[in-house]
């Protein structure tokens, strides 16, 4: 087992939440420090647990790590940075402008784009300014800017007066219009990122098919942007110590198959592999174990350990949902937590109970859906294809708005249309159409808009209604959507997460975001629990023990109702 080779000054780790970016950043940084280098680790992940992993209280300036001479770390929360920016912009007008004006300004600074750009602003301070990190031999970032941010910042039109021009610009940069002053700094940052002699970008993925597909998408996007010094780090390689345990055998096979089927361009990258770590990588010893060639030895565990109140499966939740007789069920969560599987299980169960059910899925493979389609009477399956929705939306916007723009303006508009917000809005429109069907049957969706999108669209909708004095462009389904989503009798929102640190953090943020839009989740579903799986493999039993505090926390502090689903092989699309 090996850590990624660090032969450049800057290293970026990128990948979905929970794949082990922070663990690998820290293990790599520690190994370099122990080889005599001076190393700075930087986290800009809002769900970061860098403090915990390194056992130090971190701040926004480099802090020495105890017992690791030469190793320093700093923690920047881009949400906090975005919040600080919002306060700088809005604060001076509290008490000056009416409260309603303040509220509408604040929402504009609460979107994904603002956080993304704020995070980039923090990267830029460290990467674009040689003096900021001059003392260090290596600077390691546990997150990387998204392709959208990089493209946006490399567009010449982003830096023209288009943003501030009298006709007003579309733009994700809009909320941060003040950043024009940073132009030189940002240009230097983007140049650093694509310079192979100074920067390496490491794609981190678990040996799972869906995770590797995601890594391939990122690889392609980075190559298109001219970022070519890429490596692949497979994290969490698991091999059953002894064959015979069905869960352990299935997990071993899944990892092996995913590696065999890896997209070719991804497989061609220089690659390293690090082992499955049952108890999380907290502390320096655990980090050293990541690069060790010895197989991880399971610790003895008291067999009786279990969660304080081990929640049951989905059935009690489904009974409560069924009692309403109709309505909308939506599963929410970050990619890879199993939203589609949970949605399908609920839909099938409701249909078997004699209800009419529409299962609406964005899962491109939709193999779960295909499998249940023929066998369950009363169940219909519809698909929302995000790519097609986005393409339709993009064409519509360019046809309506693009024709009045010059080349620079149109380039900006096109880039905005590639933002994560746009995909949300496009999928949202399909979502709104589907929710309408929940009036007289059950509709189960494996996708949902974020609270921010809902609020923006709500604002846009009331704006249309009150200001434009027209409802012509606003479908009925969209106008009724927010009241329906807020009605707990009509809509049951289920937050899906995994029993691990980062996914639970991310789910908490999702819950807060929904709360801003006035939506309270019906329940949380903790998916893929090894604790609940019945495995007797020693490493996996130990992993199950590691899940306990997370399950307890969801049950006790976060959720009105909780279901825990055992780990199953079918989870990996």
């Amino acid at each position: 087992m090996t850590l990624p080779v660090a032969d450049t000054r800057y290293l970026f780790f990128t990948g979905k939440g929970g794949v082990g970016k922070t663990s690998l950043s820290c293990a790599t940084g520690l190994a370099l420090a122990e080889a005599g280098k001076k190393v700075l680790i930087v986290s800009t992940d809002p769900a970061s647990n860098l403090d915990e992993v390194l056992g130090a209280d971190l701040a926004a300036a480099p802090t020495p790590i105890p017992n690791a001479p030469g190793l320093f770390a700093l923690n920047i929360d881009p949400e906090a940075a975005a919040h600080a920016y919002k306060e700088r912009m809005v604060g001076p007008y509290r008490g000056v402008l009416p409260a309603a004006a303040i509220a509408s300004m604040e929402e504009q600074f609460s979107g994904a784009c603002t956080v993304e750009i704020a995070a980039f602003d923090e990267f830029a301070k460290l990467l674009g300014d040689p003096n900021a990190t001059g003392d260090f031999d290596h600077v390691i970032f546990d997150t990387a800017p998204t392709g959208h941010t990089l493209r946006l910042l490399t567009l010449p039109s982003a830096w023209t007066d288009f943003i501030a021009s009298s006709t007003g610009g579309a733009s994700c940069l809009g909320p941060l219009a003040g950043l024009e002053k940073q132009k030189a700094l940002y240009a230097a940052t983007v140049a650093q990122l694509s310079n192979p002699s100074t920067t390496t970008v490491i794609l981190v993925g678990r040996p799972e098919r869906s995770a590797l597909r995601e890594a391939e998408r990122t690889r392609k996007e980075l190559v298109d942007l001219g970022v070519t010094n890429l490596r692949l780090a497979l994290n969490g390689i698991f091999t059953a110590l002894r064959p015979g345990d069905p869960v352990a055998d299935a997990m071993t096979a899944r990892g092996r198959n995913a590696q065999l089927d890896m997209p070719k361009a991804l497989a061609d990258l220089p690659r390293t592999a690090t082992p499955f770590v049952p108890a999380g990588t907290v502390g320096l010893d655990a980090l050293r174990a990541l690069s060790s060639d010895r197989p991880t030895a399971p610790l003895p565990v008291a067999a009786a350990n279990t969660a304080a109140n081990m929640p049951g499966g989905l059935d009690p939740l489904i009974d409560q949902i069924a009692a309403a007789g109709h309505g909308v069920v939506m599963t929410l969560g970050k990619g890879g937590v199993g939203k589609t599987t949970i949605a399908a299980a609920i839909a099938v169960s409701l249909a078997r109970g004699g209800h009419r059910v529409v299962l609406s899925t964005t899962d491109p493979a939709a193999h779960v859906a295909a499998a249940v389609e023929e066998s369950v009477p009363g169940l219909t399956i519809t698909r929302i294809d995000p790519e097609r929705e986005v393409a339709n939306y993009r064409d519509e916007v360019l046809a309506k708005a693009g024709k009045n723009l010059d080349a620079a303006g149109r380039a900006m508009l096109e880039e905005d249309l590639r933002s994560p917000c746009t995909e949300e809005i496009a999928v949202f429109r399909a979502f709104a159409r589907t929710v309408e069907d929940g009036k007289d049957q059950f509709v189960v969706l494996d996708t949902a808009p974020t609270g921010h999108t809902i609020l923006l669209l709500d604002a846009a909708e009331s704006y249309h209604r009150e200001v434009m004095r027209t409802q012509a462009d606003m479908p009925e389904a969209v106008r009724k959507l927010l009241p329906r989503l807020r009605d707990p009798d009509f809509t049951k929102a289920l937050i899906v997460t995994l029993p691990e640190a980062t996914p639970v953090h991310e789910a908490e943020r999702l819950q807060r975001d929904l709360a801003r839009a006035g939506i309270e989740p019906f329940a949380w579903v903790v998916n893929q629990s090894l604790l609940a799986s019945g495995t007797e493999d020693p490493l996996l039993v130990q992993r199950g023990q590691y899940e306990i505090p997370f399950i307890d926390r969801v049950f006790a502090d976060l959720s009105p109702r909780t279901a825990v689903i055992p780990w199953r092989t079918a989870m990996d699309g």
Binding site: L97, P98, Q108, S166, T167, E396, R469
Partner: protein, 120 residues
């Protein structure tokens, strides 16, 4: 030279890309302002979320917002509010400004290519 100011509600973009439907009225209005600028009218547009200082600095605007956020957008001509809660059409704008017939000016988008200048 006449000065026209527009106080927009908080929008993350003035094209409506962020809304559930692209708003042709907003796109049309942007083009109309461009047209006015070509008629030697100084046009200034303020977005509440990006230029709040312009709102705060104008007591008449603050007063309107206190009466209701639906008073936005507010259109001000030479310091005098000429409309609230609506994006005026090109004809209405021309009348308020005392400009002649708008017949000569075809709607943006049909009169020229984007490169020729009148639409850009």
């Amino acid at each position: 030279m006449m000065k026209l100011e527009v106080y927009d509600p908080a929008m993350c973009c003035s094209t409506g890309v962020c809304g559930p439907e692209v708003d042709p009225a907003l796109v049309r209005f942007a083009a109309d302002l461009q047209w006015l600028a070509e008629q030697s009218v100084t046009v200034q547009r303020y977005n509440l979320s990006q230029e709040p200082q312009a709102f705060a600095a104008n007591p008449a605007i603050v007063k309107e917002m206190e009466a209701g956020m639906d008073r936005l957008p507010i259109i001000v001509l030479d310091g005098r509010i000429v409309s609230t809660g609506v994006y005026l059409s090109r004809d209405q704008l021309a009348r308020k400004l005392g400009l002649g017939s708008t017949e000569a000016a075809k709607p943006a988008g049909s009169c020229c290519s984007s490169k020729s200048g009148c639409c850009s």
